[in-house]
């Protein structure tokens, strides 16, 4: 397994959202705007890299019987540390990313990658995997958030795209919770069609 392959597989072939269907809670919750998607993606990628690094580093020390509690402790500790340090030294960043930090703890991509990859691969490969998964997660969120923000608010990354006439009567359901499920099912369905076509050709 080369480093490059570990890095790129998370972006499409094993995309955490569209292929592994992990991390649905933050994925559905914060994709109301592209800005939020980017913020959540950046924060989750950072924690993912750090937790994969630590889990991989200690993979020979932690007994397999208690590995899950150990991972949870490591991830939760790390998230809390990031939260406290950011709050103290980068208050402006904390204000804009603050809502995402508690959500990272419940992001099962992080636990999923610790359990599925980092605990049996070397440190460098685990970091590559974390970066790839982080990018894949961020891209997936930006895709859904683009649809939701454009349909539900008429904007993209806060730029007015569809005009103020549309904004007065937007397709509000896109930005509400049901819209997330509806659009997600369309995206998953589309991705499955692509997969089937590829499978048929082989």
């Amino acid at each position: 397994m080369s480093l490059i392959k570990d890095l790129t597989k998370g972006i499409y072939h094993e995309n955490p959202v569209f292929k592994l269907v992990l991390g649905m809670c933050p994925f559905l919750a914060v994709t109301t705007s592209v800005e939020n998607a980017l913020g959540m993606g950046a924060a989750a990628t950072f924690v993912l890299i750090c937790s994969n690094f630590l889990v991989s580093l200690f993979r020979n020390i932690i007994p397999s019987k208690v590995r899950i509690p150990c991972y949870i402790v490591i991830i939760a500790t790390f998230v809390t540390l990031v939260d406290m340090v950011m709050n103290a030294y980068l208050p402006d960043l904390h204000r804009s990313l603050g809502i995402f930090i508690p959500l990272i703890v419940v992001n099962c991509i992080i636990l999923g990658r610790a359990e599925g990859f980092a605990n049996r691969n070397p440190v460098l490969n685990s970091i590559a995997d974390a970066i790839g998964m982080g990018i894949g997660f961020t891209l997936a969120m930006v895709v859904l958030a683009s649809f939701r923000e454009l349909l539900g608010n008429g904007t993209w990354l806060n730029f007015n795209i569809l005009g103020s006439a549309y904004q007065n009567q937007p397709l509000l359901i896109a930005i509400l919770a049901p819209g997330a499920f509806i659009l997600l099912s369309f995206i998953l369905g589309f991705s499955n069609i692509l997969e089937q076509r590829k499978g048929g050709r082989q």
Partner: protein, 215 residues
């Protein structure tokens, strides 16, 4: 048995290291966070009250008004009503208070600058953890809180509740909690007799703050 002991000890070690790291970082960052919060509050207070008397540097004195204390124990923000004056003149020109209301997913804290006649001069959202993209848009002034300027307690009702303020689309709960918490604050302050001219000028439009400032 021996293996179980070993596994247990390792787990204990991991949690011990984690707890120590958390404790250490918390003891370092907690005082800085407290200072940052206080600074942010002061900054918000200066900004929100600037509308009362633009260009002047203002003095703040805390007043305690029964009934306006923070009803939610989870919030540590305890500023009640602050009296605003322009030094060296000590006569008040208005007030600032924080309204607390239970929103959709958080306690929304709104800082409000009030003219002497009890009409709203300026508002800013201090704290909220509402749904991103929906209720969290409350921080954008044009969505809701700009509609408050110049209103008095009796006008503070959403259209859905029989008043004249349009809620943010899709965010009635957040809009309602902010509107109602401000009305509640204004009513308590009015009962405490803080609005000297509230009876005679309630029906007319709000006067510039500097003129209303003499008692």
């Amino acid at each position: 048995m021996a293996e179980m002991l070993k596994v247990g000890l390792i787990l204990m070690l991991v949690t011990l290291v984690a707890a120590m790291a958390l404790g250490l970082v918390n003891s370092r960052t907690a005082p800085i966070i407290a200072i940052q919060k206080e600074l942010a509050k002061q900054k918000a207070m200066t900004e929100v009250s600037a509308s009362l008397s633009p260009g002047d540097s203002l003095a703040f004195d805390s007043l305690s008004v029964a009934g306006l204390e923070n009803p939610y124990a989870s919030c540590d923000n305890t500023l009640s009503v602050v009296r605003i004056s322009v030094p060296p003149d000590t006569s008040r020109i208005g007030y600032v208070f924080i309204a607390y209301g239970k929103g959709y997913s958080s306690t929304v804290q709104t800082m409000v600058a009030v003219e002497l006649d009890g009409s709203i001069s300026n508002t800013t959202i201090l704290y909220q953890q509402e749904t991103p993209g929906l209720g969290a848009n409350i921080v954008i002034p044009s969505k809701l809180i700009e509609k408050f300027y110049g209103l008095t307690a009796s006008e503070f009702l959403l259209t859905k509740d029989g008043g004249g303020i349009d809620a943010m689309t899709g965010c009635t709960i957040t809009s309602r909690t902010v509107t109602n918490s401000i009305r509640n604050g204004l009513e308590v302050m009015s009962e405490a007799g803080l609005f000297s001219s509230v009876e005679d000028s309630a029906d007319d439009t709000s006067e510039p703050a500097a003129e209303g400032g003499t008692e």
